[in-house]
Amino acid sequence: MSELAITTPPTATPASSAAAPGACAVAVSVKGLAKRYGEVEAVRGIDFEVRGGEIFGFLGPNGAGKSTTINMLCTLVRPTDGSALVAGHDVVSERDDVRRNIGLVFQDTTLDGYLSAEQNLRLHAELYGVPRELVGERMRQVMEMVGLWERRASLVNTFSGGMKRRLEIARGLLHSPRVLFLDEPTVGLDPQTRSSIWRYIRELKAREDITIFLTTHYMDEAEYCDRIAIMDQGRIIVLDTPEALKAKVGKDRVQIETDDDQAAIAALRKRFGIDATVAEGMVTFGVLEGEHFVPRLFDEWDPAHPPIRSVSVARPSLDDVFMSYTGTTIRDAESTSTDRMRNVARMMAR
């Protein structure tokens, strides 16, 4: 894989093919990175590495510090502490080198709605200094990839949200970046469009020699990543492949619905030695081989306990991973972190 990735670009000097393997090994390297907005510590000293060619996901509730991190890596926000190398360049001292080697897709659209799709891309090519003789072909390539080549002459204002996002992905790729950053690429899109965006991302990984770094707060989407880092309250809690993370949890998730959750939790502890909590309005706990546990649960459930209305058993998901490390589900974390996020937003607006 890595050998194939070194294919020499025809326009590059021989030295750049020698550079490729070194650059490919580590796409992003972060040490002690921190960002503080006044009193608010948005990112509290994180360390991680992203390997060349992988899809790396940053997972966490809103306000966890994902966007701040991505903004620091994109040279848009200056870190208050620590350092980061992106495509081999320091994000503070070699800002322009970083910028020419990365592609960006933000949460909010950054297209000019009064220009056509093609004009938006041409403008980007000019700003990034893409060689003129390559612009036409490259533009066709990226637009065909996201299925917008036929619509190239249309004004961007006439595009739907999903089309705009696709166009932005195409634009982010136009200058052949080594790392593509996608900040919540599917937020605010309907499920169908979301899955099509993911199809493009995966296709992209197969076709281009590129590292993809994305943030998401959708657990199901994180499954598509090669590796994920779970972030909460400005820290990276755990970093591994989705499979490994789920294997670590091991237990199945059982949720039961009762009339008296507290009594049920007490009963579970007393009778089965299980620590349960209330999550998403249900008594929730993890057990090995949940499907075998359920019959036992009913056999041994005392009629004096509050009756069980429903039971569900689920294989470990990333939600459980998140829960086992933070003690809360990502959806519950969202609501508690809203205040924190508002604070950060207020600081950023200044």
Binding site: A12, S16, A19, G22, R138, R178
Partner: protein, 314 residues
């Protein structure tokens, strides 16, 4: 793995086309070989020029799409020239020594048309920020100064175009279509267009909301217009007005333009003295070139401030 055929286009073609490959990667691969540590010439003059040009071109594309804006911004000069000019000329005929009032206010009205268009061009920067497009430009690997320059040139071109439309009306208000005169007015209005756009861009660097920006610009532009002597001769004014007039930058755009117009009119010496006295500083008649320089220097100063402000922004 046939899919890999697209790889050549990927991986540093931007760098590759110019000179050198991404250097630090090379140094890692070479295990500390100092030779490989060639700095990528991150910024080339050619790259910056392309950036300036494309930002400029975007202004033109957007302006040409917006026909309504071209029409509406012509509305005001028409009202001033043909309605106000015609109506007031009946009152003012005694004071103008036989010179048509429309001819007299023409330079001022042309300046106003240019100012409003330039202001709207600068305002688009505030929209760009609101609609996110500014971010796309700000993260590009080019100097912020290139972006600001492109924007100012774009605004100046668009406003200059608007000025040319008003210039075409010259004959209707008794201003002769003399080549030298047209060239002088064209150059002056282009200079003004540039200065006003720079002013607007400077303000837009700080003001992030469209409503505040528009209110502020109106507040700056209307007094500038009225104090400039666009509608009255600048001699024999009460002292307070004379001082404010000399402090108004627009004075130094309107006055040389009026001098150029009057130089091409066949009128009595008395009329010339009354209507085209020229701006004085403590009794010294300021030459047209110095006046133009005042506008140019102010424009450059505001451009410099705008560049500094945008370069600082994260």
């Amino acid at each position: 793995m046939a899919a890999r055929t697209t790889a050549p286009a990927a991986g540093g073609s931007v760098d590759g086309a110019h000179v050198t490959p991404p250097a630090p990667g090379a140094s890692q691969a070479g295990g500390g070989h100092e030779i490989a540590r060639v700095r990528v010439p991150t910024r080339s003059a050619r790259g910056e020029l392309r950036a300036i040009k494309v930002v400029w071109k975007r202004e033109l594309i957007r302006f040409s799409r917006d026909r309504l804006r071209i029409l509406t911004s012509l509305m005001q000069p028409f009202l001033f020239l043909f309605v106000l000019g015609t109506g007031l000329s009946r009152l003012a005929s005694a004071g103008t020594h036989g010179v048509n009032l429309r001819t007299f206010v023409y330079p001022g009205v042309l300046c106003m048309a240019v100012m409003f268009t330039a202001m709207f061009s600068a305002a688009s920067l505030v929209w760009d920020r609101e609609f996110g497009f500014l971010r796309e430009m700000m993260v590009a690997p080019v100097r912020r100064s290139s972006l600001v320059l492109g924007k100012c040139f774009g605004g100046a071109t668009v406003a200059g175009f608007q000025g040319v439309i008003v210039l075409c009306l010259a004959g209707l208000v008794g201003v002769p279509y003399a080549l030298g005169l047209m060239a002088a007015i064209f150059a002056l209005q282009l200079l003004l267009a540039f200065a006003i756009t720079a002013f607007g861009v400077m303000v837009a660097a700080r003001i992030t909301q469209m409503q505040s920006f528009m209110a502020l610009m109106q507040m700056a532009i209307m007094p500038m217009f009225f104090l400039s002597g666009a509608l009255f001769p600048v001699s024999g004014l009460p002292q307070w007005l004379a001082i404010l007039n000399r402090l108004d930058p627009l004075t130094y755009a309107v006055d040389p333009m009026r001098r150029a117009v009057f130089a091409h009119l066949h009128i009595s010496a008395a009329a010339r003295r009354a209507l085209d006295p020229g701006v004085t500083w403590f009794g010294w008649h300021v030459p047209s070139l110095v006046e133009a320089a005042v506008v140019g220097v102010l424009g450059l100063a505001m451009l410099a401030i705008a560049i500094v402000q945008f370069s600082r922004a994260e």
